[in-house]
Symmetry: C2
Subunit: 394 residues, 2 copies
């Protein structure tokens, strides 16, 4: 048996949340709602038919010019001022974030994240062997005061200063919280003062059910300290694998040089161009909002009925529900018992950068039907009561 | 003006060889021959029509099972024994190589490469901040004796031993040399003895014009020391961005965990499955061989006429011609003069891991027509005579 000499980062193992266990109700992944997957037959036909030469050849490293222009129009609705030179096309916002990490961070560098934060972003950061400066959240979102105090202390101690901040300000993954305008301004001021870059990951921004739209941090950025990460995964289809980074031209060019694939898939890029140019994408987003609002309400209702002892917060948009179980609950054990009952949810442990409090779980309401959500949470309720009776017996 | 705090690897700048200067004849990139780009209208229609749910959703991290099975059948023709568990689907062999680097190498680790070697692989390795142990080539290919001596010396000096070897044994990029059976066996023995992993990059293997097929190194591997990197870029279409790694199941699973994109594009994967299952791919490969043989012959003929002072070697397959100019020639200057004349070729500098001898250039005959090759090499001949007269005048 060969003893391979792996790099340190290869100690990170796990399974993909998109590899669902057969026969279980999957409340553990932010995959797309299958009945809403878009019909792109016409757009695909155009891409590989009349536009075959573009679709089947290597694409420009920065992405198709037409797509970069469409992305500029798309984010203009968020008052982000961008021209083609600001836009890099990637394989979803995850790969855009990976390129940002490659561009800015060495092993051992520090990244600012919320506790908890997006589990896959954490996984990607761990492959870069970075350390985490974790910051809490309250009702207003990112605790910028806590960050300021921690940065001051690092500065006073002469310690290395963080280079990057990762956050999901709209409908945060996993907590669902949206960061307030005041906090966003504070975050940007700190980025400018301490010269770190904010990776503003905004996949759910357009999936808002209610409440007022808050300007993105990128829309207030005039110094290039913000890289806006976007994707069509949550508003069109994850299978297209099309996302982007919007930032300072010199920064996104450097990020492009970290790509290891000779340019992203032109074929999928062209399909997205055609969808963005027609009203199909706007229509699709409306449909997603309609279904996701129902899913959220059904899940909250079922939760209140079957796990009344948990604390949940109603998100105004996005794909996720975050639940705090009574302190001392073994969330990992609940996840296992849930699988026995035929439902998959995520342990909060996956979302905590440093210490896991141990009593949180994350549910996604995006992938399954409303009936499956009802059924899944009922099953989780069974697991929850089993866990309680086991705890009493112990 | 913001002074960004980039990582070391971000010092690597450059341009993509696939971003062609308008109005010039591009002999600098291994892009696909446009008249040969496959018609995948039917396959794309199937993928986004009846198979929409698969195509538009996140794909399994390891790739579609159907594609992994088809890849096993494909490499079985090369006597590589693989089952689904050995196969990881990636965005082309470049991204497979990047995942191997992430899996095995820390910054400062040493990778064994030929001098010269594939320019984009070098670029990717440089983003990992690795060092290079460079090994020569002769008529039989990879100089395994030289490697053995160097490994012995490192071992005797107690220096860190290399973890990875990268090579293109069939129709090497850039030199076109194919490594002999004896040398391949020696490489594998050294990998086993010194416990490093061979990344055998074989994009051109099926594009053979003449001569006998030599077994791949992977086909002789029973210890898992070889990762075979494959792609459809050179046999179907680069735009599909579908490639793979074949290796030990534990190794490819670890490589999958280094992906930062939530699974590769299912859509393009399904198209490749359909093409592999029909006889379309085999037919397409025959067509490619037909055209590339003509292109090679035309290029060699033009070279002999217009740059008779250069030494070239006739490759038995692949996409590239490598030329040694008389010693002391400034190849970089020739490349610049070529652009003035309307032809783009690559300076050998891009292919050398450590020291650049300075008098080599690489030409690709894949992307342009036979007439353009004739014209392009004639233009390079004009540049060459200008360079000679400038040298005489100096």
């Amino acid at each position: 048996m060969t003893e391979f000499r792996f790099a340190r980062r290869s100690a990170i193992l796990g399974k993909s949340v998109f590899d669902h266990a057969p026969g279980t109700i999957s409340l553990n992944s932010g995959a797309a709602y299958p009945p809403c997957l878009p019909d792109v037959v016409r757009e695909a036909g155009e891409a590989v038919g009349p536009l075959r030469e573009e679709a089947m050849q290597y694409a420009p490293l920065m992405g198709l010019d037409d797509l970069r222009d469409e992305i500029c129009s798309f984010v203009a609705d968020d008052r982000v001022k961008a021209t083609r030179e600001n836009v890099l096309v990637t394989y979803g916002s995850k790969s855009a974030f990976d390129l940002a990490l490659r561009t800015f961070c060495e092993a051992g560098d520090t990244v600012i994240v919320t506790r908890p934060t997006y589990m896959t972003a954490l996984h990607i950061m761990r492959t870069h062997n970075v350390r985490f400066l974790d910051i809490g959240q309250d009702e207003e979102g990112f605790c910028a005061d806590e960050l300021e105090h921690k940065l001051l202390r690092l500065e006073n101690n002469g310690e290395p200063m963080p280079k990057l901040l990762f956050d999901v300000p709209d409908f945060h993954n996993p907590t669902g919280i949206t960061t307030s305008m005041a906090r966003r301004k504070q975050m940007l001021e700190l980025a400018q003062r301490y010269n770190f870059v904010i990776c503003e990951d905004d996949p759910y921004r357009r999936i808002r059910f209610e409440g007022e739209v808050i300007p993105s941090i990128k829309s207030m950025d005039v110094t290039g300290h913000v890289i806006s990460l976007g994707t069509v995964s949550k508003i069109l289809a994850p299978g297209l694998r099309v996302g982007w980074a919007i930032g300072d031209p010199g920064v996104v060019r450097r990020m492009a040089m970290q790509k290891a694939d000779g340019g992203s898939n032109a074929f999928a890029q062209r399909i997205v161009v055609q969808l963005m140019r027609s009203n199909k994408m706007a229509h699709h987003i409306d449909e997603m909002i309609h279904h996701m609002r129902i899913h959220r309400d059904v899940m909250i209702d079922a939760f209140t009925r079957h796990l009344p002892e948990t604390v949940i917060r109603k998100p105004q948009g996005g794909y996720f529900l975050w639940a705090e179980l009574p302190e001392g609950t073994d969330a990992e054990r609940l996840v296992e018992l849930g699988i026995d009952e035929g439902v998959e949810v995520s342990s909060g442990r996956l979302s905590f950068p440093n210490d896991d409090p141990g009593h949180f779980i994350r549910m996604a309401y995006s992938f399954v039907t409303a009936d499956e959500i009802k059924d899944g949470i009922a099953r989780l309720g069974v697991a929850w009561r089993k866990l309680q009776s086991q705890a009493r017996a112990a």
